[in-house]
């Protein structure tokens, strides 16, 4: 199938899905205030693009997201390089990591809110914690996959440990780090929205959704907010996938992505 045909079919699929939502909304299967038709939701979503207060909220969410993800990178990449290149350290902290990782990070929201209040610090701390893991594990994994021949060659030429790390291992690991970053980006958005919804006040996309959810007949606004959240997630993912393809064109197609 050619690319154009695929795009056409995809567009048709989107139209069909919208049509279905429209029909369900209008058919009166559920109360209209519960599930408004797609056209109303979309026009509200477009309308929100002109709402300065709403855009400021989205900006606050994106800032917390970027800050948390940046911090996670700054922590996870050096830590991953350390764990991946010194087996002793890896062995030493393995058990601790295995106990920390499976804890669902939204469960930390109550504790961190008690410790830090419900402002930006809480959001950023939670986002950072949750997005550290995929980057960390991908870095360690990528280091393990580095071509041993290249490392040995450099060592034979008398390059030191750090030099080998910077010249061979880090570039070879970069695609894995990027893949981890892409997974973390989605998790970071989940945590940003989840924390905001539970906090219920302040500013942010999640706050908008939470407050609309409590208002009567607010579903239209909630869904319009969801459209924005989905659009944001899609935009982030597309940019990251595009960046990965440009930077690391030799890596195989992205597999089993979350």
């Amino acid at each position: 199938m050619r690319r154009r045909q695929e795009l056409l079919l995809g567009a048709l699929g989107v139209l069909l899905a919208l049509g279905l939502c429209e029909a369900v909304g209008r058919a009166g299967l559920v109360r209209r205030s519960y599930l408004p038709p797609a056209s109303e939701v979309l026009s509200r979503a477009v309308e929100l693009a002109g709402d300065r207060l709403f855009l400021e909220g989205v900006g606050a969410t994106v800032r917390a997201w970027a800050l948390g993800l940046g911090l996670a990178c700054a922590i996870a990449v050096p830590l991953g390089l350390l764990l991946g290149s010194v087996p002793l350290v890896d062995d030493a902290v393995r058990a601790i990591v295995e106990f920390l990782r499976p804890l669902p990070s939204v469960a930390l929201i109550p504790l961190v809110s008690l410790l830090l209040g419900s402002g930006t610090e809480t959001k950023v701390a939670l986002i950072t914690y949750a997005s550290v893991w995929p980057i960390l594990f991908n870095t360690v994994y990528g280091l393990g996959e580095t071509d041993p021949l290249a490392k040995d060659t450099l060592r034979a030429f008398g390059f030191g440990r750090l030099s080998v790390l910077l010249r061979v291992e880090l570039p070879a690991t970069a695609p894995f780090i990027a893949a981890g970053l892409r997974i973390s980006a989605a998790i970071a958005l989940i945590l940003a929205v989840a924390t905001e919804i539970l906090a219920g006040f302040g500013e942010g996309l999640g706050i908008f959704i939470a407050q609309a959810g409590m208002a009567t007949d607010g579903t239209r606004d909630v869904l319009a907010g969801v459209v924005w959240a989905g659009g944001l997630g899609l935009l982030i993912n597309t940019v990251l996938v595009w960046g990965e393809r440009r930077l690391f064109p030799w890596t195989p197609e992205h597999r089993s992505q979350g």
Binding site: M1, Q5, E6, L9, G10, A11, L12, G13, V14, A17, V30, Y34, P87, L88, D91, A92, R94, A95, I96, F99, R101, P102, L103, P104, S105, V106, A107, I109, P110, L111, S113, L114, L115, A186, I190, A192, V193, A194, I197, L198, L205, G206, I209, A210, G213, T219, V222, G225, V226, A229, G230, G231, L232, G233, L234, I236, N237, R255, S256, Q257
Partner: protein, 266 residues
């Protein structure tokens, strides 16, 4: 060679547990010397966890009423949500994976649905289904279904064409082709999707219970303890959830190993 490998592994394990024990001891000492309301000593968290949930009569498998009222409903909702998501995801994913046309038709919608951060939709489910188990299961299913669906479709789509031709030559029926060829070859991808779905189910289970208006569950225990500033219970619930996540993930990995076999090429 193998002996030295075994020795390295043993040394690694010893190191691992020693460091863990040392960390917990250091935590214990630090919290004992600098008493803080927010960070209770681990020994007290352990005692509290035991008292709160696991000190019941042997007839109830040592579970206290608090445990049966909160842990079991959480587990039930999560299991139901995850099972539904897995069943729907595998069924729809297989259907989509078998036709390139259907895949192209649905791909943009699927990508959008997956990009929505699941907690954003929970308020919609609250309005439509009201608080309670139905809303919670629905939000778990909606968030956990996408990774399985997309991975299954990819897996089925990438079945070796040669094997498909062989199946055509052998005139395998649709069901047999599905059971003997398509699903087994998609299985590694399906499991990768299931692992993601499982952790999403746990996340959404907790999140949907954290919302005001919930009456029971581990998440409810957390918010309830938070509102009473009962830090010991908050920590106990965190330990419980961590253990739960560990057990679930290990269990799924064991099933995966069983079904895929060790060292079989994916």
């Amino acid at each position: 060679m193998s002996r030295s490998k075994a020795a390295t592994a043993t040394r690694g394990a010893i190191l691992r547990w020693t460091v863990l024990a040392a960390t917990v001891t250091a935590w214990q000492l630090a919290t004992r010397t600098h008493a803080s309301v927010y960070f209770p000593p681990p020994s007290e968290i352990a005692r509290h966890t035991h008292n709160l949930w696991f000190s019941g009569p042997p007839a109830h498998a040592f579970l206290t009423p608090a445990a049966t009222e909160n842990i079991l409903p959480s587990l039930a909702r999560m299991t139901a949500g995850f099972a539904l998501a897995a069943a729907i995801g595998i069924a729809l994913g297989t259907a989509l994976g078998r036709s390139r046309r259907a895949h192209a038709l649905c791909n943009p919608v699927l990508q959008f649905a997956r990009a929505v951060p699941p907690p954003a939709l929970v308020p919609v489910f609250v309005v439509v289904l009201d608080f309670g188990t139905r809303m919670q299961v629905a939000s778990i299913v909606f968030s956990a279904v996408w990774p399985v669906l997309i991975n299954t479709a990819e897996g089925v789509r990438n079945t070796d064409p040669l094997r498909l031709e062989v199946a055509a030559v052998l005139r395998l029926t649709r069901t047999r082709r599905l059971l003997l060829l398509l699903l087994p070859s998609a299985l590694p991808r399906i499991f990768a999707g299931l692992r993601l779905s499982l952790s999403l189910s746990l996340v959404l289970m907790v999140f949907s219970e954290l919302l005001p208006g919930t009456a029971n569950g581990i998440g409810f225990t957390l918010t309830d303890a938070q509102s009473r500033s009962d830090l010991l219970t908050v920590w106990a619930a965190l330990v419980l959830l961590g253990a739960l996540g560990y057990v679930l993930n290990t269990g799924l990995l064991a099933v995966e190993k069983r079904l895929l076999g060790r060292g079989r090429p994916a």
